[in-house]
């Protein structure tokens, strides 16, 4: 009788543990990676973006290797984002080739500036003016200025900055488009335009201190951390990596207690996203429970968001406890993404090796923002890995 009851109890324990293992806590695999491997991966991804640029400064948008087909579409917010990432690469490595390529992409955008009342804005398509794309353009120019000290775009940055400020509402929300026909901000929000705007204004504040950009940025940052979900109708909070960039670069005196709380919540969103990613194998029962390894752009946004919050954790004593877990998570993500990147050796046998080497694919397809976001993640992970290697 006792043996039977013992067997029953142990069976429940073992079956329960197995269900938990498979369904809730599959192994989180973090491949070992060195800073040198990460630097190589950054170089290869940059090569994919720069190598695919056309003479007019546009990037190759996407490539589907399963049918060997280039996607001829385009997205200008992504143009701004990729250009910003290339300026990040230049800031980290000082590569003149990357700077030249990013400058070509920037020039493509600056050819399409329009003027309004006291402001300028990038109007990529001739239609309504997208605020998020302008935010990323300013962010890119600010990072360029930070790395080079070159003041050539100062007035353009300020002029687009005034356009961004004009889109901000008294509560800190940001309308996502300028309506060309009514010549007024178009009522409506975008999921990322708000954060892109606040980050751009934050970077303007760093480049042009004392001009009041930071205070405007902080208003939008505080809005994102408080009222946004209710005002914009989100049931759950957006894991907004651009908001994380804002937190990472916002002047310390502008970061409130609520803002720090928001930064902590953002770190949690990115953390669970990346832990989940580390559990994905894409095979067997794991495929059913966790699906395929995630879209690189999605993984990348979480990684770069954590990277920005890592900077914040280094200077904000109230968030110092986040430093170690963020570093661990960044190192893990870097290992995963370096392993998932198509190497030159793997690309040799492909029908278009130049469109595969250095890229990250999701179920056979890659897009410029896949490279952009993972690139930014790896750039954030690089100094963390270097410091870990020094400590060993």
């Amino acid at each position: 009788m006792i043996k039977r009851r013992l067997a029953l109890h142990l069976s429940i324990l073992v079956i329960g543990a197995a269900v938990l293992r498979v369904g809730v806590v599959p192994a989180e695999v973090c491949p070992a990676v060195t800073s040198a491997q990460v630097a190589e991966a950054i170089d290869a991804a940059t090569g994919w973006l720069v190598g695919g640029m056309s003479a007019d400064g546009r990037y190759l948008y996407g490539y589907d290797r399963s049918v060997d087909e280039v996607n001829g579409g385009y997205n200008y917010a992504r143009h701004g984002g990729v250009t910003m990432s290339l300026f990040q690469v230049h800031g980290a490595f000082g590569s003149p080739d990357v700077l030249a390529a990013a400058d070509r992409a920037l020039a493509h955008a600056l050819q399409r500036l329009v003027e309004g009342s006291g402001w300028m804005a990038w109007q990529p398509t001739g239609g309504d003016i997208p605020v998020g794309a302008n935010g990323l353009l300013v962010a890119g120019m600010a990072l360029r200025r930070r790395a080079t000290g070159d003041p050539v775009h100062d007035e353009t940055m300020r002029a687009i900055g005034r356009f961004l400020v004009g889109q901000q509402q008294p509560d800190g929300s940001v309308y996502a488009y300028w309506d060309v026909s009514s010549e007024a901000p178009q009522l409506g929000f975008g999921p990322f335009a708000t954060g892109e705007t606040s980050w751009a204004l934050t970077l303007l504040d760093a480049e042009f201190p004392g001009e009041g950009w930071g205070e405007v940025a902080a208003r939008t940052f505080d809005y994102m951390g408080s009222e946004r979900n209710r005002v914009e109708g989100y049931l759950t909070s957006i894991p907004d990596h651009w908001a994380a960039y804002t937190a990472g670069d916002l002047r310390p005196d502008l970061l409130t207690g609520d803002g720090r709380g928001y930064a902590r919540r953002l770190a949690g969103y990115f953390g669970i996203r990346l832990r989940f990613e580390a559990q994905r194998r894409g095979t067997g029962i794991n495929l059913i429970l966790r699906w395929y390894p995630g879209p690189p752009a999605g993984v990348g946004t979480a990684g770069e968001g954590l990277g920005a919050l890592h900077r914040l954790s280094l200077r904000e004593p109230a968030l110092a406890d986040l430093k170690a877990p963020i570093e661990w998570r960044l190192a893990c993500t870097a290992g995963i993404m370096v392993e998932r990147q198509v190497s030159s050796a793997e690309a040799v046998s492909a029908s278009r090796p130049d469109l595969e080497a250095g890229a990250w694919f999701y179920r056979g397809y890659t897009q410029m923002d896949d490279q952009q976001h993972v690139l930014s993640t790896l750039l954030a992970a690089l100094p963390v890995l270097e410091a870990m290697e020094e400590d060993r």
């Binding site: 009788m1 006792i2 009851r5 013992l6 109890h9 429940i12 324990l13 329960g16 938990l20 293992r21 809730v24 806590v25 192994a27 989180e28 695999v29 973090c30 919540r265 770190a267 949690g268 990115f270 953390g271 669970i272 832990r275 559990q279 954590l306 986040l322 877990p325 963020i326 998570r329």
Partner: protein, 184 residues
Amino acid sequence: MNGALAVAVFLAALNPARTRLGMPETADRRLRFDLAGPGILIGIAFLVLVASVAERGLDALEISPETFRIAAGFVLVIVAAWMLSQPVPTAEPVASGRLGALWPVAYPRVVSPESLTLAVTTGASDGLGRVIPGLAIAAAVLLALGAVPTGAIARRLLAGIGRLLAVVLVVAGVWLALQGIREV
């Protein structure tokens, strides 16, 4: 998890009131202690041992402590739901002689899915400093309850307290799972 919270959660997981109802029953108080005392100590010692190697164990299984909190939260909620539906544990046959301390006292009354997962998650995330006081207090309460003769009124009272502790366990489980989700 701060110290007071850890004590409350361990108390809810070990649920001394409900566990007391599942202990081998004898009219002789001394005989009850002869089985319960060593059994509780063995169970608690095992849980402390598990907690002390939890971090290494999770590492070997490639599970981050943060993610394991989610799993622990699930276990606590499921077990608490079971406790609410079954306020009195199923009577287990008692092993003969001193072995009765091992079965059914140490296992499955003290060492159980809920106390094991809680020991692992607290040991891995917060260290033994949070595990030992929680287990010690729960064990002391359980031992003290051993002195209570389980007549009809006492049984009803213990079942009611057991239900209350099960509700605490539901809250603790949800809280643990949310913590696991929110952590980096």
